[in-house]
């Protein structure tokens, strides 16, 4: 993924962002390697301190409470997390029902309509095409790139 503005969040804001991504990644009941790579990628991009990353990794198996977390986040943080959450939820190839329900819940808390959420999910689909193009240039295709 291309760099983003998430490194501009406050230290606590970055932790909350990572926490929410962990919850979203685990929404379908399991964390696959691609999802872990996506979370590690986001933690790296946010330049979270290595010790804090260790703390956050402990939540892979035991995520914090979603409702409490949502209450702590303001609308701007929620919308940024919704955008990156939509990307993380897509990494295993498709949106699972639980992931969609969770994204809808976050969207509703952030004041984002279902129609806008749909727009966001389409935006993520275009990202797949762009990433596939980059792999094609360096000759490192992955399964599914041809259909992009």
């Amino acid at each position: 993924m291309f760099p983003d503005s998430i490194q501009l969040l406050s230290e606590n804001g970055r932790k909350r962002h990572a926490n929410l991504l962990i919850i979203i990644a685990g929404a379908d009941g399991e964390l696959v390697r691609e999802e872990i790579a996506a979370i590690e990628s986001a933690m790296g991009l946010m330049m979270i301190h290595p010790n804090v990353r260790t703390e956050l990794r402990s939540q892979f198996a035991d995520p914090i409470d979603l409702d409490l977390l949502l209450k702590e986040m303001d609308a701007a943080e929620l919308r940024l997390a919704l955008k990156n959450g939509a990307i993380v939820a897509a990494v295993d190839g498709e949106y699972d029902n639980n992931e969609i329900l969770l994204l809808k819940k976050i969207a509703a808390t952030a004041g984002v309509s279902d129609a806008r959420l749909k727009q966001l999910l389409n935006w993520v689909r275009n990202m797949w095409k762009l990433e596939a193009k980059g792999r094609q240039i360096v000759g490192s295709p992955m399964q599914g790139d041809d259909s992009q």
């Binding site: 260790t54 935006w123 992955m142």
Partner: protein, 143 residues
């Protein structure tokens, strides 16, 4: 954040990939916050262990030689390192002559097409524009 082929490579290849990224990060003796964030992002995507990441970060202070990095680095990992080095070098909005020269040298080593770096730079510009459209979408969501 979307899946890539990088994390599928053997761990030794991923480490060698990151080592080359460290050399590229120091190509113009200046490491901006944006480049550093992209560097850390790629280390995360590569799923290196915390210990390996510390080793790679140490290379930022005393980088290995380019020859040392290229020896034993497979073509796929090398080409992915070229792609991600372009992305990292462009993160601060400017790829200088020194960086571009080094990128072309590495691309040549991995038998990439002559226009590969230019194409990757175009692709990177497209990617940053795409990210900007995501930010704009967020702003629309805020209305």
């Amino acid at each position: 954040m979307l899946p890539d082929t990088l994390h599928q490579l053997p761990r030794t290849e991923r480490f060698a990939y990151a080592k080359l990224l460290a050399v590229m990060a120091r190509a113009n003796d200046e490491l901006t916050v944006e480049e550093m964030a992209t560097f850390e992002q790629r280390l995360g995507t590569a799923l290196l262990s915390p210990e390996q990441r510390n080793q790679i970060r140490a290379y930022l202070k005393s980088p290995p030689t380019l020859e040392e990095c290229l020896t034993g680095l497979g073509h796929e990992a090398g080409r992915l390192a070229v792609r991600d080095s372009v992305m990292m070098a462009a993160a601060d909005g400017n790829v200088d002559k020194k960086e571009k020269k080094l990128l072309k040298k590495i691309a040549n080593y991995f038998d990439m097409q002559d226009d590969a770096i230019d194409r990757l730079l175009e692709w990177t510009a497209e990617g940053y524009a795409w990210m900007q459209s995501g930010v704009e979408l967020l702003n629309e969501l805020s209305k």
